[in-house]
Amino acid sequence: MRLNIHRLKKLGSTLLTYFLALVIGLVMAFPLLTLARVSLFRRLDLYAKPIQWIPQTVRWQNYVDVLAPDHIVPIRASITNSFLVAFAAASLTVAITSLAAYAFARLRFPGRNSIQSMLLSVYLLPAMLFLIPIFMIMRPLKLLDTHLSLILPYTVWMTPFVTMILKDFFNTVPEEIEDAAFVDGCSRLGVIWRVVLPLAGPGLVAAWVSAFIMSWNEFLTPLILTSKLKVITTTLGLYTSTYDIELGHMAAAGIYAILPVLILTLVFQRRIEQGIVAGAVKG
């Protein structure tokens, strides 16, 4: 009898787990399903009452139309710009932060802890604090509306976070391997070049991917520092066109904006999860 109650309890908790998992899954999927749904609709069908959940005629044409060069959503130009800027910013960030992260993880020097805390505390400050003077500096220097005006701030915004996740990563590389190389007569630089970098490869790639995604998703910085079509980024391009536009086109553009970063996130899922936890706990 007691066994039965125990079994019943177990069944109940299993059912509860599956039920909650289903509800959570639906909540998480709902926004993207909405976006995907609208992207496949003709304008007329969207307004149908009662609501049509699945389009009667699937309109893939939205994805083609929105790519037209003179479309009101400048998605074609902006995706190229976003790639360029995010690629450059992520590469610059990883180059700069991997050095700093190695120093924080392995080298001893006066001020190590205080410099680290300073790095972390700037991460918490709101961007408006920096964007006002950066705008004031870039405007007379004619730097506004250039790719550089985005690459530099992005790199700086990401430096604290990426330094911390890379430092965490260097800490997981066993120090004994480095020591063995030292014993064999390698210099510090030699150890970094021959031992640490090859081992750190996966960590560097993951950091680069995180930085790329963060750059791609940035909105406030391009909103303030750029306005011209030649440098417009995907996120900004979407927003400039929210009025009076075919909703199907806008949704298709949204899918285009999500797709690159979504694929990267799913491919590097584990590492990104680790990065989120490491970056936040240290922050």
Binding site: F30, P31, I137, P160, L220, L266, V281
Partner: protein, 332 residues
């Protein structure tokens, strides 16, 4: 195995070396060994690029904003103007005093506080349940875990646009779902009413922050040893008791971290509001960050905007310091 290790507590040889040298340096005075000096030089060379960028784009601007916040509210957005004697002579607390008389700013402070409280309460409850579910083993767990991470990849502005499609008065899926369930018979104007619009914006923000909250809480849950639960179960503790007497006390530091980070992130929230309401209707969704932006870049009152940015930083700083104090008390 252990006996083959170096007799030092330090794990690494280089650490042991420099440690030994530091000891001798203390005996002999200020001179340090050539190896350690070399390592220091290398360290500074390594952190220099990062520090230089941080100084150029964070520290210098922070100081400039500080100066601007005491200068006339409306000024030409040009760095030369900031250090123009005409402007420097007019330094005063006007911008800060003005904020107390700015009804929109006061409203924005209230909205921000409300925003934070709702995100913390609703968002963390949802994430706590999600983390508890993900901490069980069940079929489809990997899939759910991937699904949970997705909002992190979605650009916040696209997230805002997407929730705009959900709450759209004519074609929105929220009205569609509620109609289908028979809960409403007339389409709701979600973004037309100040309080309702604020909830819409908050829900979009919560959805975006779920990966952060869930993953952090999950990491906390996974540090609790299973044995504690098993022995509590043997002692007859119910699931609810186990949650309140084992789970919560064990992850309270993690929860504190999450709350602090939420305060920081929610205060920085901008994109969803911009995409959904731009602060309206009747300033119902205007938060501090948004008003700072509008003062600076819509009304070109850079002096006033800088002061508002600094007030935000001070308020945020208080929360971070309180977190730090609680943490120190909890760990001692």
């Amino acid at each position: 195995m252990k006996s083959f290790r170096l007799p030092r507590k330090n794990k690494s040889i280089s650490g042991a070396l420099s440690e030994g040298m530091r000891g001798s340096a203390q005996r002999l005075g200020p001179s340090i060994g050539p190896l350690e000096r070399q390592e220091r030089r290398l360290a500074y060379a390594f952190i220099f690029p990062a520090l230089f960028l941080i100084a150029a784009m964070y520290l210098v601007p922070t100081l400039v904003t500080f100066v601007v916040s005491f200068e006339p509210a409306k000024m030409d957005p040009n760095i030369i103007q900031v250090f123009d004697p005409v402007n420097l002579r007019q330094i005063s607390f006007d911008n800060y005093l003005r904020s107390f008389r700015d009804p929109v700013w006061l409203k924005a402070m209230g909205n921000t506080a409300f925003y934070i409280v709702v995100v913390v309460v609703l968002g963390m409850s949802f994430s706590m349940v999600t983390a508890l579910v993900l901490n069980q083993s069940f079929k489809g767990r990997g899939f759910l875990r991937a699904l949970i991470l997705i909002p992190w990849a979605v650009p916040p502005i696209v997230n805002g646009t997407t929730w705009g499609l959900i709450y759209h008065a004519d074609i929105g899926t929220m009205n569609g779902v509620l109609r289908q369930l028979g809960l409403i018979h007339q389409d709701l104007l979600w973004l037309g009413h100040p309080r309702l619009a604020l909830f819409c914006v908050i829900s979009a923000t919560i959805w975006r922050l779920i990966p952060f909250m869930t993953l952090l809480i999950l990491a906390g849950l996974q540090t609790i040893p299973r044995e504690i639960y098993e022995s509590a179960e043997v002692d007859g503790a119910s699931a609810v008791q186990r949650f309140f007497y084992i789970t919560l006390p064990n992850i309270r530091m993690v929860l504190l971290t999450v709350v602090t980070l939420l305060v920081v992130w929610v205060t920085k929230a901008f994109d969803e509001i911009w995409a959904l309401t731009k602060g309206g209707p009747s300033y119902g969704t205007t938060v501090m960050n948004l008003w700072t932006y509008r003062q600076s870049f819509d009304f070109l009152r850079f002096g006033y905007g800088s002061a508002l940015a600094y007030i935000t930083v001070v308020l945020m700083g208080i929360v971070v310091v309180v977190n730090f104090l609680i943490r120190r008390r909890g760990e001692v």
